[in-house]
Every structure is written in structure tokens, then in C-alpha cells.
Symmetry: C2
Subunit: 217 residues, 2 copies
DNA sequence: ACATCACCATACCAATCGGTATGGTGATGG
DNA sequence: CCATCACCATACCGATTGGTATGGTGATGT
């Protein structure tokens, strides 16, 4: 049988090293600006190895996107942000988590899929679909909580939950673009705060006035 | 005197043709994926002409960003969205305008600066700064209205207005990324709707309940 | 009338691009 | 013991890359 492909491999296999190098370099410099040789150099493998594992650079892009998606869901599964009993509090905890990740170097908190799809959406439908899938999966993380929240505090329309979950993704993507433009995460953090306030108001459970005069935390 | 550089030139000068070609091609395929020869072909000029006007491809990127900023402000100046007397209504009218632009081909409504800065922020600080400037200028379009709005309906803190204006830009940028991922503008339109609802709630002037159960328009 | 200059065209360049061809190596299954 | 195969290394390919060198042309100031 073929086995131990992803489990219990003592040293990182070449394919994995290439995937991680792709995620790193694309987040730093973009997809088109990263050559296959750059990838190989960063991964410490040869071009022969590269084209053994991936038929084209595009195929690596698709594979790296899936790897990125897996990394993200592993991460969100490992952190206990889902403890609150109130679904709204879970969503807010998720936002707090996303907010807390906005530290350090820009390339370390930007989204691989968002960066890639921006460049490749028109030239590679395979990459576009892969990124769409991973971003939509990301939205699904809070979608169930939002369904619950809408059911508890408003309409039970599931379309609302889907739409709002995608909006959360959109705001985060936009916040990252702004961070890249300004060269600092501050502006991204503020955007997440605005998003938090929106959701708080949407599901306002007490009568505390959360209006224009609210204080920033 | 040197004159008629941008005014009353009968046929489009080469420099302008290159700038417009850059805006078009970068929005379609990205900056790194667009070669200088692509640009020249699309603009109908030769490479000699290109490097006469721009020392490097990077320099063209900066110039095209400024051209893009000028195009945007010309456009927003030409459309009468600023008629309402209430500052909040002006902001909402602006959002409605942005929303109404989300039609047709994706490359025709995406933001040149957002696309460019995503790719080039780490490799060219000149491009990064230019994009930052243009995006921040875009935020300024509604900043004064937001200052008024905060003054009328909440705190008069100007930081709030700046932050919210940048958040509007962030949401739009993010919405465009999502549109690219999904291949359709629908998701972007919904994000703008969410943003609109946020601002309505933030400056809620009457006591109409705008909560989780609100109907989509 | 002449020099200057912005503007553009042609030809060319070394370097790099994504991709291929081919041969070697070690583990595995029969 | 041999054949197969996944895996990787080296060498190479034609095409394209951003950029340069150089020469020409027409308008302009003097």
C-alpha cells in the first residue's frame, strides 16, 4: 500500500517544502513575480524535483492554495475561540482572534489566497476556483454561528448568514489590502473594529446605545 | 512656455496612451504579468517611446497610479451625489454610487491602485506610496461629510471620521477581491449593502429598528 | 540658418523565464 | 535478482524579459 504520505514523515518531503516556499514567497512578492527557480531555491530542491511534483507553475498555485486552506483550518481548529455559549459571542471571539493576528511583518498575516486570486483570477480559472473555494470555506467557519445568531436575535434567514459571513471575509481581505498600502497593520485593525461594531449592532442584545458617539476600545 | 500638455491636445499623446494602457492591462492581468512590450502593443507605441517617457517599468507604475487617481476624482466630481443636505445622506449616496458601478466585466470596475499595491507593496516603495496616496485621497472624498455626520449625530471626533472613511475604502477593496474570487460582482454588491447598513445604524437618526431582522432591499 | 531638444523608431542585448529531456538512485514488489 | 517506479539532479531549450544604444525627424528658440 502507499502510505505515510502526509503522516509521520521524519524530514519534510520536497513537495511540502515547495508548497510552503510558495506560500511564503507569494505572500511576500506575488505569484507572477515569483519564478520557479525562486521557489526551488527557497525550498532547497532542484527544478527537476519541482516539475516532477507539479506539471506547471499554475498547478503549484492550485496545490499551494489547498495547502493554505488546510493550514488555516488547522489553525482555527486548534484555538479555542468557540467556547462562548452565545453564537454572537462566538462570532465576536472569532473577530477578536483575527484581530489579534494582525501583528508583525505584513507578509506574515496577509492571506495567500487573497493575494493570489487578485493576480490570477483572469488568467487561470483553476487558481481562481481554488482560491474561491478556500475563501468560501473560511466563511463557513462562522456561518453556522451566524445562522444561530440570526435565529436567536432576528430573522432565521440563512441567506443573511451566508451573506454576512462572506462580508466578514471581504472586510478582512480589504483590511489586508489597506495594510499593504499603508505599510502598517493599524488601519486593518481599525477595520476589524468597525466590523465588530457592525455585528454588535446587528445583534444588539441589550439596549445599550451603540451609536456614532461610541468610544473606541 | 511649455503648455498644452494635458489640455487641448488633438490626438492622444504617447505618454497618455501608455498610462491608459497600463491601467487597462494591470486591471486585467496584474502588474508583473504585464510586460513592457504588452504595454507598448496595447498603446500602439514602440519601446523607444516607452523608455523615453519612463525610465523604468516601476516609474510607469507610479505615473499610472497618479493618472488613475485623477480619473477617479474627475469621475466623482462629475456625478452629483453630493446634493443631499444631510451629511449622512451624502455618504449613503456615495455608497449607492459605488454600488451602482459594480456592473459589467470585472476588470472594468476593479481598482487599479488596489490591484497594484497588492503585488508591489514589498518590492517597490515608490509604487506603494503612490497607491497609498491615491487610496487615502479616495477616502478623503467622504471624510468631510463624515466629520459633519459625526458632529450632527454623535461625537465630533475627527479621528472617527478618518477611520470610518478608510474603512469604507477597505470594504470596497475587499469586496473587489471577493468579486475576483467568485467571478461575479454579486458578492461585492452585498458587501456594500452591509457597509451601508453599518453606516445607517451608526448614524441612526430615527428610531426605526434596523437590526438582525431587517429586510434586504 | 543653425543648434537644440522632445519625441520616437529600430536593432540589439545579456539575463531570465517556464518547461523539457534524460539519466541516476534507492526502495519496493514479484 | 531483476524490473519497476517514485523521486530527484543536471543540462539544456526557445522564447521573452526589462533595458540600452543609436539614429532619425520635426518643431522651436535665437
Amino acid at each position: 500500500m502507499m502510505a505515510n504520505k502526509t503522516e509521520s514523515t521524519p524530514k519534510l518531503p520536497s513537495r511540502e517544502k515547495l508548497l510552503l516556499a510558495a506560500i511564503k514567497l507569494v505572500r511576500e512578492r506575488g505569484f507572477a513575480a515569483t519564478s520557479v527557480e525562486d521557489l526551488c531555491r527557497a525550498a532547497g530542491v532542484t527544478k527537476g524535483s519541482f516539475f516532477h511534483h507539479f506539471a506547471t507553475k499554475e498547478e503549484l498555485g492550485v496545490a499551494a492554495t489547498h495547502r493554505w486552506g488546510a493550514l488555516a483550518s488547522e489553525m482555527f481548529a486548534a484555538i479555542p475561540w468557540r467556547d462562548p455559549v452565545d453564537p454572537v459571542d462566538r462570532v465576536l471571539a472569532y473577530l477578536e482572534l483575527r484581530r489579534s493576528l494582525l501583528v508583525g511583518e505584513i507578509a506574515e498575516f496577509t492571506c495567500f489566497a487573497g493575494t493570489l486570486v487578485q493576480e490570477a483570477h483572469a488568467t487561470s480559472d483553476a487558481i481562481r476556483r481554488a482560491c474561491d473555494e478556500i475563501i468560501t470555506d473560511g466563511a463557513r467557519i462562522i456561518e453556522a454561528d451566524l445562522v444561530e445568531a440570526f435565529r436567536a436575535y432576528g430573522s432565521g434567514d440563512e441567506d443573511h448568514a451566508t451573506s454576512l459571513a462572506l462580508h466578514v471575509q471581504a472586510v478582512i481581505q480589504g483590511a489586508l489590502v489597506m495594510a499593504k498600502a499603508k505599510g502598517t497593520a493599524d488601519v486593518a485593525i481599525e477595520s476589524v473594529d468597525h466590523l465588530r461594531r457592525y455585528i454588535e449592532m446587528l445583534f444588539s442584545r441589550n439596549d445599550t446605545e451603540i451609536r456614532a458617539g461610541v468610544d473606541q476600545p
